[in-house]
């Protein structure tokens, strides 16, 4: 129980690394900064592994393992403790975060080698690790919220890492502000929960919640409202409709950041939170439905935008958004384990995709536009291979990770009672689009003839420090899926079994679940085949469009100009927000808050007080004759009043006192 008793060490290590680098790194050569940053994350990964190892020796009744360290806020019956919790869900997240994080750290040492502010970058990155681990390990909503905000901060810092570029700093602000909106909902949700359950600690709250009567479909009970509010927060953090707008812009940050924060870990926090509070969601079917619909809509929406993007990272960003939509869809239909599983696999292959893209950009010397690439497959072989693996994975070709996770999601969507088939259909369409635009990306980047000036750009393979993580991740995205290999392949769904104890406490009727199991086995094979076919179709179309007939896309674009431009401009959502939210806000703050309130009221009040004082002084000045005795008179009057007030109760005519 070495680590489990001292869980704090896991988040502490990155924090120390961050502090060391942030405080002293400026003077140090990159080498030392590397040692500190990578070392601290690596150590905390090791600790995490040990923690998991110890966790498996725990007897079931000891789970979830909660370790209170100190009380952080205590007010009345409210206690926000610095308590850390470990259960199966945490274990998964822990491994993903520390592991992928560590790999990306290593990758960054190569990728950022020639960038300025090296130490700053790693300090931020470690800080992010710290907060993410807090978020994952937190045993109550308040502490979770600390991590939640912390990762938001770090994402802001890292998106605006090239703060000299206006677009970068703007993107940072955008991310920050949009997240605030979500956090607002999240906080309201927390308050509501505290008001309902009088605690924010997971274990007692959920125990309490289980005993409560679940809200009916379409009924807005307390739990439903709370769930919806929390989901608002999740949409903010995980870039779901309507708050997804910040994520594409977040690509302004360095690529490793995009990989770590905006693909693998942070953006999945929303999913994690929903999964973490599944007990509540189980009791709020309305909220579940909303989650499912939002997730589904986001998935297809982002996918459609992804079709036409030319910036390689933008494409990946939108695919991230749509994959997150998948996860929410899973959660929405109650397949939390599937959602988490997809989260994990997605972490693998999406991180891989980003890193590979980074490697490509690195090779192209900073070029991000796919229209100026092509034919790189020979030149950067390893990058090509790994990226292809990831693409196959995300497109959902067996036997790679994406296949299993996406398959289980679609399956559970198909089975879910309310509107399942519609959801399934949309999910399938999204899968089709996904495979299409992913292969579009591959073909545009690696095949065909180079569309760049070969004399200017000297394409070169990335250094080992970048390639090794790529390979590891590639392996992971190949084998990762087998953890949840479906039953028809004759494997018990390890992953689901593993997470069972967590999600069982939420699940209501076990019988229904069992029936679903039975139905599932019947359905699994056809559904799987359908999924694979869609993926293949997507691949074929992409191949047809971008390899055999390269001029076709332009024609399409011309022929259906409206749709194309709409997609290309991302449905004008940003412009819409600008018109609906930003402009009124600006107007309000400028003409009302500034000119009316600030100038008219506050300044006026201050000046008024001042001038009033002056006037009063002018009036009263004459009382100050400078003649001592008049002052004395005033003092006497005051003394009289005070004495009268104090001694009134004792007052009796003089005579009484004198006579005796």
């Amino acid at each position: 129980m070495l680590i489990l008793d001292n869980l704090w060490i896991i988040p502490l290590l990155p924090l120390l690394g961050s502090a060391t680098n942030g405080l002293f790194g400026a003077k140090w050569p990159n080498k030392i900064v590397n040692y500190v940053a990578v070392g601290s994350t690596g150590l905390s990964f090791a600790c995490a592994l040990e923690a998991v190892h110890e966790f498996f020796q725990l007897s079931p009744e000891k789970i979830p393992w909660v370790k209170p360290y100190f009380s952080w806020i205590v007010a009345g019956d409210f206690r926000a403790g610095f308590d850390l919790q470990v259960d199966q869900l945490t274990v998964v997240m822990l491994l993903v975060v520390t592991g992928v994080g560590w790999l990306i750290h290593i990758y960054s040492t190569g990728y950022m080698a020639h960038e300025g502010g090296y130490y700053r970058f790693f300090s931020y990155l470690n800080l992010f690790m710290f907060f993410m681990l807090i978020l994952v390990l937190a045993a109550n909503y308040s502490l979770l919220f600390v991590g939640w905000e912390g990762v938001g901060l770090c994402s802001y810092l890292l998106i605006g890492f090239y703060f000299l570029r206006k677009s970068a700093s703007d993107a940072g602000k955008k991310a920050f502000i949009v997240n605030r909106i979500g956090d607002f909902g999240f906080m309201l949700g927390m308050f509501l929960l505290f008001r309902t359950f009088h605690t924010l600690d997971f274990v007692p709250m959920f125990k309490d919640a289980v005993s409560q009567q679940p809200d009916a479909m379409g009924q807005l009970g307390t739990i439903t409202v709370a769930c919806l509010l929390i989901f608002v927060g999740a949409t903010g953090k995980s870039a779901q409709l309507p708050l997804y707008v910040w994520l594409p812009d977040a690509m302004e940050g360095p690529t490793p950041v995009s990989a770590l924060i905006h693909a693998a870990t942070m953006v999945t926090a929303g999913v994690y939170v929903v999964a973490r509070s599944h007990v509540l969601f189980m009791r709020a079917p309305t909220a579940m439905l909303v989650v499912a619909i939002v997730g589904c809509a986001t998935a297809i929406f982002a996918a459609t935008i992804g079709l036409v993007q030319t910036d390689i990272k933008k494409v990946l960003a939108y695919s991230t958004v749509s994959q997150l939509g998948y996860m929410f869809l899973a959660c929405g239909v109650g397949a939390f384990s599937a959602g988490i599983f997809h989260l994990m696999t997605h972490a693998f292959f999406k991180a891989l995709l980003f890193l590979a893209a980074g490697s490509v950009i690195h090779a192209m010397g900073g070029e991000q536009d796919m229209q100026h690439m092509g034919g790189l497959s020979k030149k950067i072989r390893w990058t090509y291979i790994t990226m292809l693996t990831a693409t196959l994975a995300i497109a959902g070709f067996p036997p790679l990770a994406g296949f299993f996770s996406k398959d289980s999601i679609l399956l559970s969507a198909f089975q879910s009672e309310n509107g399942g088939h519609a959801l399934y259909a949309v999910g399938l369409l999204t899968a089709l689009l996904t495979s299409f635009y992913m292969f579009r990306l591959i073909f545009l980047t690696f095949f065909g003839k180079p569309r760049y000036d070969e004399h200017k750009v000297h394409v070169h393979e990335s250094p080992k420090s970048m390639l090794v993580p790529l390979m590891i991740l590639a392996v992971l995205s190949i084998v990762g899926g087998w953890l949840a290999a479906p039953a028809f392949l004759g494997s018990p769904d390890y992953f689901a079994r593993f997470l069972e104890p967590v999600f069982a406490q939420g699940a209501g009727g076990e019988a229904g679940a069992a029936a679903a199991e039975a139905a599932a086995h019947a359905l699994e094979i056809p559904l799987a085949i359908v999924a694979v076919l869609t993926a293949a179709i997507g691949l074929a179309v992409a191949w047809w469009l971008y390899l055999s007939k390269p001029q076709k896309p332009a024609e399409f674009a011309k022929s259906m100009k409206g749709a194309y431009t709409t997609l290309f401009n991302k449905y004008y959502v940003d412009e819409l927000y600008a018109a609906l939210v930003v402009k009124p806000l600006m107007w309000l703050s400028r003409s009302v808050l500034w000119q009316a309130v600030d100038v008219g009221v506050i300044d006026a009040a201050v000046n008024g007080v001042a001038s009033g004082a002056t006037d009063i002084g002018d009036g009263v000045r004459h009382a100050q004759s400078g003649n001592t005795r008049s002052y004395a008179v005033w003092v006497v009057i005051g003394a009289l009043v005070i004495i009268a007030i104090i001694f009134w109760p004792y007052f009796r005519p003089v005579a009484v006192g004198m006579v005796r």
Partner: protein
């Protein structure tokens, strides 16, 4: 009427007459003298109450130092009879009645609350030693502070009164 009461009334009469005289006299020296009378009378009252040390200090410091200083200053400045100026009649007109009222209220209140005071047993003679212990144990910090205050006062007086060398 028992002797102490007699003594009290004699001394009280002395004090009051002295105070009134302080007001009536128009030359500062005479006012000073009448104030000295008041102080001596008060010292007698302190003795009557058994506070001998305070009585002695009262005479030594008040009578012997402070008032001497006053007389000295009066002599130094050769202060004459105070002149009659009509400015700030208001002060006198408003102040005197007010003061009388104040006096009345105070006295009446005290008299009214006499029984509350009387409930307590009048103390025995205050031994100087006990006073010393109190002063140098419980009140030692204030005591030291006052010494500092005196020092500052001396400096201030010097600074104020010395003729600036031209």
């Amino acid at each position: 009427m028992n002797p102490p009461l007699l003594v009290f009334f004699v001394l009280a009469a002395m004090a009051v007459i002295g105070a009134i005289n302080l007001i009536l006299q128009r030359h500062p020296i005479h006012s000073a003298l009448s104030l000295i009378v008041v102080m001596v009378a008060l010292a007698g009252l302190y003795l009557l109450m058994g506070a001998e040390f305070v009585a002695a200090v009262q005479i030594i410091v008040y009578g012997g130092a402070i008032m001497v200083l006053f007389v000295f200053v009066i002599m130094l400045l050769n202060a004459g009879v105070e002149e009659h100026t009509n400015a700030s009649k208001l002060a006198a007109l408003a102040g005197v009645p007010l003061a009388v009222v104040l006096m009345g209220v105070l006295a009446a209140t005290v008299a009214g609350s006499a029984d509350r005071v009387q409930v307590l047993t009048p103390g025995s003679v205050a031994p100087t030693k006990a006073l010393a212990n109190l002063l140098f144990q419980d009140f030692v910090y204030p005591f030291e502070l006052t010494s500092f205050l005196i020092l500052v006062a001396i400096l201030g007086a010097i600074v104020l009164a010395q003729r600036e060398k031209a």
